[in-house]
Amino acid sequence: MELKLTHVTKQYGTKTAVDHINMTLREGIYGLLGANGAGKTSLMRLVCLIQKRSGGEITLDGREIQEMGEEYRSLLGYLPQNFGYYPEFTAQKFLLYMSALKGLNKHAAKRRIEELLDVTGLTDDRNRKIKTFSGGMKRRLGIAQAMLNNPKILILDEPTAGLDPKERVHFRNLISSFSKDKIVLLSTHIVSDIEYIADEILVMKQGKLIRCGKPQTLLKDLEGKVWECLVPFEAVAEMERHFTVGNLKNEEQGCLLRIVSDICPVKGAKEAQPSLEDIYLYDFQREEDKR
């Protein structure tokens, strides 16, 4: 299975949200990183056919997804960033409604709902109205509905927003176990969400895809650009002004800084092993500072 995006563009008036994106997704987990407004959500909406492209094409195994219509959507599972729901519906009723939309027959739907309520830890709350759910529970319900039709293409937009650390770990494992023979595209700006499970990382900035590759490859790209140095307390502010400081730890002799920089920030700084968070900082920190 191959989902191919060719010169995919989305414009809102004069603003280009997605700018000539080219990528090919095959079975595996893809972590889509980017700051707010980078175009992640727009890109996902285009892939889900809920927004019209301004240009380009998206094909699944060579067929234009727009033309595939129902056939394509039957392969799709989607959890949007702002997950909508019916407050007066119970979890079970909501999932039944979504099953009907996804074309599951009644018996298959009931069986699948049982499984997913169990997997997402909502079995005991199945008959509670969604309006009484916590943010995390709603998110888990959202994940359950996305998986109802056992989708071949799973699009998750900020799926871990509102989840506590334990739920996030649970969610990561859930996605990991689910991803076999499937394309999973997961957007986040919480790097740890994808650090361990993503087969490939895609980094978007101002609508463009600026990085794309396996985590190890991307980390290799950043080798020699991550530094650790001990600086006096009074120099910290100055360092923050000039460099992207990823981490700051107070020690007895001064402050231990982790800096992402193309050049050695200070004499005596030591090269450190890069992490995905460093990639994110390298690509976005300056931009966010500008804001």
Binding site: C48, R73, Y78, F83, A100, L101, K102, G103, Q145, I155
Partner: protein, 372 residues
Amino acid sequence: MISLVRLEIQKLFRRKFVLVLLLIYGVVLLFMIYAGNPNRFSSILTSEGDVLKGREAVQYEKELAESYGTLSDQDVQEILEENARILGEFTDENQMKDDVHYRYANGFYAAVAKVFTDADGNYNHLPADQVYPGQEGLMQGGFTSGMDMMLSYVTTFLLFAAVLLIVMIAPVFSDEYTSGMDSLILSSRYGKTRCARAKILASFLTAVTILIGTVAFIVLVTIGYFGTDGFAVDAHLCATGMIGMAPFALPYWKALLILISLGLGAIMMLIGFALAASALGTSSFISVLVTLAFFVLPIFLWGVWDIPWLNHLLELCPGNLVSPAKVFALPAYQIGGHTVQVYQMEIVAAVCFTPVCAVCSYFGFKNHQVRS
């Protein structure tokens, strides 16, 4: 598809505001039905000057009306004279002057007097076909109070139902946009096809069920109260003025069918419009507002400008549900040598307009671009 329609219908009834409106609707309906029961029938004066109330009054009026059948000039004159005699002998003048009720001895006499007297209450000496052009032969008289109540309640509740249904149906699509459910629905397999169709079908089914339920309830209860007396009577005798000047023979049963068809047509137009406004709009509030405007504005705009085509267009809008008498009073259309009454044109308009709106709402939702 069936399960989707069922779920969409359930969704229509889940909003608290809708439930409150339905409750009010039901309570008002029951109250009005209670208020119209024969035990509360207005008092009448018999030819002997006895005052009868409730069921006794109903029975007396029915027997009196049946004794006449078709109304010849002689019958009419006799009725008017008898009415004057009873009032003269058994009520005092001050009472007659102040209380409209005492201008007529009973409902049957009141109905006849409405047709065959002038503004001062004097016999106009006109045959029925001159009072109502199109009337064929003598007017069929009979007991009209039951049918008057039925027509009046049907029209009133069609109006209430229209408002209730606008509030219920107008958010069908736009609520999905504001709640953020549009993303999930439109990305699901049947979201752009069967779901959109299910929403439209569920809306029309709900509207038809509420309408038919209401009308059937009113008709059955009224028949239970007063029997079927009056079905064949000429509806021009209608004391409430609801039929107005219909320029053709119109027994009550036909008047009832026309009112139901008009109401059904008008409400189908409103539902269609509400769905289109909902699918193409951005919020439930706006779609409710726009649909209410479509319902109400033509009532006030009709006749404001002397533009015939515009007035004809406004005549065909669902706002005429408010005033069937106006619909009957409007001049008929002449199309290809045929006379087509305005109410017939309204039904044709509803049959044409409603599917167009339904199709617009279908494609409006299908092509909706998720924004939130």
